[in-house]
């Protein structure tokens, strides 16, 4: 069995404690916002300049000037605030954000992360990822365990251009939760019926 994206998001939420400030990246990590219940007092930061992101807006309250870093329409909760990009990244670079949750292409045993380009093929740009991985107190990567060719994305040494060096604390895949330990990955938790030998860990 593997975890669905929603189950992965719920595993990530287990790391948070009330009052935490959390930045959620584009893609799978944005699902985390949708599964944080109203009862859990977490402040969601989006680097385009908002703290206190709430769920999706209603049709009536949609605003073209109220978006997250994925350029998706959002709503805010009472107690939210807006600011410019420099102050927003000051929250990140100054070490005020408790968790950065972002997507990945490769993570290696030293905690190196690659997630922004495949030379000659694809360039998304790093966006805020390089600042986030160096600034946030905890860095969690959410990604599928295997790529489209069936190779594990948890590797001994990254081959793609890096986003950050020695920055990843935890990796949540559809197979389990892993922690880079310099030689391989510690298995923190596995999805039901997943066997260690199927993980292709380095």
């Amino acid at each position: 069995m593997t975890w669905s994206k929603t189950e992965m998001a719920k595993e990530v939420i287990q790391f948070f404690k009330p009052g935490d400030y959390v930045n959620l990246g584009i893609g799978i990590p944005s699902l985390v916002a949708e599964h944080i219940g109203a009862g859990l007092d977490i402040h969601i930061h989006s680097e385009n300049g908002v703290l206190g992101v709430s769920g999706r807006p209603s049709q009536q309250s949609v605003s073209p000037t109220l978006i997250n870093a994925g350029k998706e329409t959002i709503s805010i909760k009472d107690g939210a605030s807006f600011f410019d990009s420099s102050l927003s990244f000051g929250m990140i670079r100054g070490g005020h954000i408790d968790f950065s949750v972002l997507g990945g292409m490769e993570v290696d045993v030293e905690g190196n992360l690659a997630n922004w380009m495949i030379p000659g093929k694809k360039i998304t740009g790093m966006g805020g990822a390089m600042d986030l991985v160096n600034g946030a107190k905890n860095v969690v990567v959410m990604m599928s365990h295997f790529n489209k060719s069936g190779d594990a994305k948890l590797v001994s040494s990254t081959k793609l251009p890096l986003t950050g060096k020695n920055v990843v604390d935890l990796v949540v895949t559809d197979k389990g939760i892993f922690k880079p330990n310099q030689k391989s990955f510690d298995i923190i938790k596995l999805a039901d019926n997943v066997k260690e030998e199927d993980l292709k860990l380095p």
Binding site: I67, D84, G128, K165
Partner: protein, 233 residues
Amino acid sequence: MSKIFKDAKEALHDIVSGSTIMSGGFGLCGIPENSINQLEKMNIQNLTVISNNIGNSGRGLVKILVQDKIKKAYCSYVGGNPDLEKRIINKSIEIELVPQGTFSERIRAAGMGVRAFYTPTGYGTIVAEGKDVKVFDRPCILEEALHADFALIKAQKADEYGNLWFKETARNFSPLMAMAAKTTIVEAEEIVPLGAIPAEDVHLPGIFVQRVYLGKDYQNDIEFLITDEGENS
């Protein structure tokens, strides 16, 4: 003295080939739509453009990108902009990809008179190539201030002194760019009387603004419309 100009044509009249231009906005949120439309009409070439996305989805600055008016671009994110990605891969544009926090801080530094700063962001990556490294609590790279001849930004409200007020997340890079450019040209959805923006609520003081004009026909495009009923885009 009032900083109000008649329209985009008058406000942008002295932008020439070879100018360095900053353009505000995150994706399409808060972009200076009227000024970009004016750049599209102007007979200028070899621009250096500093903007987080250089437009998106065929819109915004993509209008002048596809006219090949941009010689060099500084940006942080290319995803959602296939016209730019294509030009980077086939090397028909000079590009400097800058981590977004470093990007905003380099622009802010220019406005604040800071020549350069050290940051851990980008250490050990392509971004660090050729840059001075110094170890503080951990290794950091030297990043230099980013200046421009012109900043083109959009505000929700402006007054004749150039005091600005931005709506929601439309603020993003705009106030920083206004500080970093020799000439800042603001288009506003509303031009309001002096005092209408309470002094406590001025997001950018007018000292950083040289020209203001009233924008028109705003599209205010939404890239991904998702509501509590699901995705609509």
